[in-house]
């Protein structure tokens, strides 16, 4: 354990001391405050991992932290799992650049949470044990439905992970002046270490730490912004509209949601994609029962709503404070700069630049470390979800038919986590200079068009059959991938064709109904004997999904029931 972690730490720390260019040390050499806080974050998470290493003996320990997480802790961990650097830096940047539309984006993500709570939390917790595929395949053929659900999970995890890693590599490069490839290798090693040594226990505590850091950091920045304007919102907004090239239009809806079809499609992907993210759904199994699952969703929703409320202060604050000061911008030969496009590090760095403007190197260092912790927690959660889809769903249930020992399944999980980490690092290196804007959007679309429909229909529609579930989920998966490939973000931006055949950026409005219709159609057409058994089994499933597990299920060991 120590033998692996110490070199990892050294590897991350060395390049920092070697050269500290970029933002965190832009004016006066390397910022020791930023580097100290960064090392503290890394060291803190490694201590957590070390302390969690003893509690990964059984599957229940490894996948669900022994179901011992309290609702408060789990809610914070969910918020930590969900609020990515894209949410913190990206939405602040969006509000900085476009104003009001950034808030609608945040509202879309937030709206996913009550949907998770109402439709998923309770039945998922009652029917499943480790992954959402448990619940999706509950009344149906375990192997085929589970395989499709696991593939859906892995596609989402892979896209999301690579998108996050590329952003993370560039962020760390900007913040600390570390080389991109060193940054992604370092992040990859850390996430593999958390998951393989500490399982869900370590991942959870990394996420809780990150959520606490992020919410505290954002609160400090919001208070500092308000203090700067004498706690007068009107003054803050006036300064923002005075400084912003778009003027008062940043206070009202702009172009992002102007066209109804695109707006609804993006909205569906934001809301139902959130409700189909495997790493979020997995967190409902870490608490003891459905009541605690609901409580944790409430805590998570509250944290995310609070975050949504303070993020406009940062976005508008960044516009008002940074835009008037040329030192935050790249100047052209004539000394001019574009108040949106020329921000050093791009608009995604608005929050970080604002931290420096408000609180000097100390706050800048703190927020840089927060941004880094944010990345670590999200990639760790994704890696664990991907590893579980391979080890529990594909290996444990499909290949070994539920007969694999805990030891063996956990070993497969650790190997999978390592492989997923290495592949993610390799892909992040390969796609470094590609336009990968489509990846995060595609991840959400696949989650909304494959994972969400299969789970929702299996949980709520008594007519669902295996054939319908498999066909519909595959239609949603391939439909969303195909439409994204035919859309502008891939067809034009990546393949350099002149015009995209699919005119919208987001496929969810089309691929989601396709999946639901597929499940419905192939289910009602299914006249097999298995289908009629499955329809009858819905009644028993209903009992379990409403009342929780009534009796010990055969595969449960008595010791596992204690959790």
């Amino acid at each position: 354990m120590k033998r692996v972690i110490l070199p990892a730490l050294a590897l991350l720390a060395l390049p920092l001391t070697a050269k500290g260019a970029a933002i965190a040390g832009s004016s006066s050499g390397p910022s020791w405050i930023a580097i100290t806080m960064f090392v503290l974050v890394v060291a803190g998470t490694l201590v957590i991992t070390y302390l969690s290493a003893s509690s990964t003996g059984t599957k229940v320990d490894f996948y669900t932290a022994g179901q011992s997480i309290s609702p408060m802790q789990n809610g914070l961990a969910m918020a930590g799992d969900f609020l990515s650097a894209a949410a913190f830096l990206g939405i602040t940047g969006l509000i900085y650049a476009d104003g009001y539309d950034g808030l609608i984006y945040a509202f879309g993500f937030l709206t996913g949470w009550p949907i998770i709570l109402f439709l998923m939390s309770e039945r998922l917790r009652n029917l499943g044990r480790f992954t959402f595929a448990d619940a999706a395949s509950y009344p149906l053929d375990r192997k085929s439905v589970r395989t499709v659900a696991a593939i859906g999970s892995l596609v989402v995890v892979a896209l999301y992970l690579v998108a996050q890693m590329i952003a993370a590599g560039k962020l760390v490069q900007l913040l600390f002046g570390v080389d991109y490839s060193v940054a992604i290798v370092g992040i990859g090693m850390l996430m593999i270490a958390y998951v393989t040594f500490g399982g869900m226990q370590a991942t959870t505590w990394v996420q809780i730490t990150k959520a606490a850091l992020l919410l505290t950091g954002a609160t400090i920045m919001a208070l500092a912004t308000l203090w700067h304007f004498g706690f007068n919102l009107e003054q803050l907004l006036t300064a923002a509209t005075d400084a912003h090239p778009k003027g008062t239009s940043i206070l009202r809806p702009g172009g992002l949601f102007a066209e109804p079809v695109s707006a609804i499609s993006l909205g569906l992907a934001l809301v139902f994609g959130t409700a189909g993210l495997p790493h979020i759904l997995m967190r409902f199994f870490t608490v003891k029962d459905a009541a605690d699952a609901r409580r944790s969703a409430f805590v998570a929703t509250s944290c995310i709503a609070y975050f949504c409320l303070i993020i406009p202060l940062l976005g508008y604050g960044a516009a008002s404070i940074l835009m008037g000061d040329a030192t935050y911008f790249k100047l052209d030969a004539a000394g001019h700069f574009n108040r949106i496009g020329s921000l050093i590090g791009g608009t995604n760095m608005a929050a970080v630049q604002l931290a420096g403007a408000l609180g000097g190197p100390l706050l800048l260092g703190l927020i840089s470390a927060v941004a880094f912790a944010t990345i670590l927690a999200v990639v760790a959660g994704l890696t664990l979800a991907g590893a579980s889809a391979v080890s529990h769903d594909l290996y444990g249930q499909v290949i070994a038919g539920g007969t694999a020992s805990d030891r063996r399944e956990i070993l497969v999980s650790k190997v999978s986590a390592t492989v997923i980490g290495i592949v993610a690092v390799a892909l992040s290196a390969a796609f470094q200079n590609q336009n990968v804007a489509f990846m995060a959007g595609l991840a959400l679309s696949v989650a909304a068009s494959c994972n969400f429909p299969i789970l929702a229909m299996a949980l709520y529609w008594r007519g669902t059959t295996t054939r319908g579930a498999v066909a519909g989920a595959l239609l949603g998966l391939f439909g969303s991938v195909a439409l994204v490939v035919l859309s502008k973000t891939v067809w034009v931006a990546l393949f350099h064709f002149a015009k995209a055949p699919f005119p919208y950026d987001n496929p969810a409005l089309f691929s989601m109904p396709l999946a639901f219709a597929g499940i419905w159609l192939f289910s009602i057409m299914d006249r097999s004997a298995r289908a009629s058994t499955e329809r009858k089994a819905f009644e028993t499933q209903l009992i379990h999904s409403e009342l929780g597990p009534l009796t010990r299920r055969p595969e449960l060991q008595p010791s596992e029931m204690a959790g």
């Binding site: 009001y100 808030l103 609608i104 509202f107 879309g108 937030l110 709206t111 949470w113 009550p114 949907i115 709570l117 109402f118 439709l119 309770e122 509950y138 009344p139 919102l233 009107e234 907004l237 006036t238 509209t241 008062t248 239009s249 206070l251 009202r252 809806p253 949601f257 102007a258 066209e259 109804p260 707006a263 609804i264 909205g267 809301v271 009541a291 609901r294 409580r295 969703a297 409430f298 929703t301 509250s302 709503a305 949504c308 409320l309 406009p312 089994a537 009644e539 028993t540 209903l542 009992i543 379990h544 409403e546 009342l547 929780g548 009534l550 009796t551 010990r552 299920r553 055969p554």
Partner: protein
């Protein structure tokens, strides 16, 4: 798959308390889902229908109706989820436990 017998399953399914639990939970679940989705997609509809309205001032000149509305909606989402959790964990848990106690072998 499970080890409750068909007879037992039939008894639970016929239990009026169980039927009430299922019906009331479904009403709460789908009703509140409609409320929350209505809030989000309603705002999107409002944005494409009357974008000017959301840009009008609400009280002070810079504080637009759109800004106030979206912040009110953020808070409403928390209130709606809080209501659901309260109702489920206090209202339905008791009903659920009474059905469970009668049927756990």
């Amino acid at each position: 798959m499970t080890d409750i017998s068909d007879i037992e399953a039939g008894r639970i399914l016929a239990d009026p308390r169980f039927r009430r639990l299922v019906a009331e939970r479904a009403r709460l679940r789908w009703g509140l889902s409609a409320v929350v989705l209505g809030m989000f997609f309603g705002l999107i509809a409002l944005m494409s229908a009357t974008p000017q309205l959301l840009g009008e001032s609400a009280g002070s000149p810079r504080m637009t109706i759109g800004l106030v509305l979206v912040c009110v909606l953020f808070v409403s989402v928390v209130l709606v989820t809080g209501f659901y959790v309260r109702r489920s964990n206090q209202g339905f848990e008791g009903l659920m436990r009474s059905v469970r106690e009668d049927c756990t072998p």
